[in-house]
């Protein structure tokens, strides 16, 4: 049954797949993860703020993002951001935003909503007494958050943050709708050029599977180690 398949195509395109495709996928994942966690933490602090409007804005943002399909968000940003950007700086024409910047901004904004919920749970898991202790020593709210609550919340939530990042890694493949050459995009270009769709898509699936499996195993080990420290 596999007789008609030609897996040589993988070997031929190997360098291109990883040098062009995978390096883009990893760059996008790491940048979106870092900025997404920072932005998500800010959203979490806003959601937990006692100042109503701030909490409402962050809550609304998170709910909209979480209730919208990612592909739609990618489209929105790609087509709307140039117009909004142009309108903001008062230009008569839409500004030029490259596919990479557009997709990076999209993933930061989208994933931040999920990271926000994780960090919010993490912050809420820290006993109130820790905040009291910080304040009682004369630290102000920001210092108490930065030195006492957030480091502990981040440590407690590290496995969940990484699990979300594995999902982000898989989600980045959706940039193919913008014709970007990520790992999947690169593979699908080769597949169409050489007429080897089955081989290439099988290979892509296996690579994604292996990377995600290794990462999940690492997260599980990390979880056990953190449990011991606490």
């Amino acid at each position: 049954m596999l007789g008609g398949l030609d897996f040589d195509v993988i070997q031929r395109s190997f360098l291109y797949l990883f040098k062009e495709g995978m390096s883009f996928t990893l760059t996008l994942t790491l940048l979106a993860m870092t900025a997404g966690i920072v932005f998500g933490t800010m959203l979490a602090l806003m959601r937990l703020s006692s100042f109503g409007p701030l909490a409402a804005i962050a809550g609304g943002y998170v709910n909209v993002m979480r209730a919208t399909p990612l592909v739609l968000v990618i489209f929105w940003f790609y087509f709307l951001v140039p117009w909004i950007g142009g309108w903001l700086i008062g230009a008569s024409e839409p500004i030029k935003v490259g596919a990479f910047v557009s997709s990076l901004v999209t993933f930061i904004m989208f994933e931040a909503a999920y990271y926000c919920e994780i960090m919010r749970a993490g912050i809420q898991s820290i006993p109130r007494g820790q905040v009291s202790a910080g304040l009682a020593l004369g630290l102000n709210y920001a210092q108490t958050m930065a030195n006492i609550v957030l480091p502990q919340a981040f440590r407690n939530m590290l496995p969940v943050l990484l699990t979300q990042s594995i999902i982000l890694f898989q989600d980045t493949s959706l940039v193919y709708v913008l014709s970007i050459t990520d790992f999947l995009g690169a593979a699908s270009k080769v597949a169409q050029r050489d007429g080897r769709l089955v081989e290439m898509y099988l290979f892509v699936a296996v690579v994604y599977f292996i990377i995600c499996l290794v990462m999940s195993q690492y997260v599980r080990r990390l979880q056990l180690r953190l449990a011991v420290i606490r």
Binding site: G129, Q130, S132, L135, A136, L137, N147, I148
Partner: protein
Amino acid sequence: MDQAMISIRNVSKWYGSFQVLKDCTTEVQKGEVVVVCGPSGSGKSTLIKCVNALEPFEQGEVVVAGVSVGAKGTDLPKLRSRVGMVFQHFELFPHMTVLRNLNLAQIKVLNRSAEESTQKSQALLKRVGLEVHAEKFPGQLSGGQQQRVAIARALAMDPLTMLFDEPTSALDPEMINEVLDVMVQLALEGMTMMVVTHEMGFARKVAHRVIFMDQGEIVEDAKKDDFFGSPRSERAQLFLSKILHH
């Protein structure tokens, strides 16, 4: 008028419609040790937390070292940095070493240098008998050791007064004394202290005054000997008979 270190005037506080503090008034003079006792739910912890504004209150006034705690323009972090507080559950920062726990606020609030803070911290750890544990994390210490670290952490700020919120209630019996010893030492050195505790032995030994609270009210506020000798109120008599005879 001679100025009290802590002055609590007609303080009332509500949780919704439930009144936790009812018109509480008392004073703590400089160098005085005041023990606050009473059955659980009597509002004693809430009262002590009003002193450094960890608990807001709706009515009345609390003045610490001449500064009104509830007033609008009060620099609360600055005020709190001069009022040491020790909690029932220690509340050490578990992600920092013992030394970092002591250094943190010295550096961030008092703007001391790292060397100066470390010097101060090590002297205080030595004083509570824990200098060899400076590089350990709180989770590696026993409850009694953790509470002594917490006292050292509060002392590192050179506080004008110290508040203790049931400092021995969460400890195993065999560890209570090591913590009380440190507190007795402090009291004998003349530290102004307000201590919420059920340890009547401690009260007998070093307290100047005892405040007895019940249902949000200060029922009795008496010199130590008067309180233990002949409590005036029936409620205080009942309370004493319960905790002293077992």
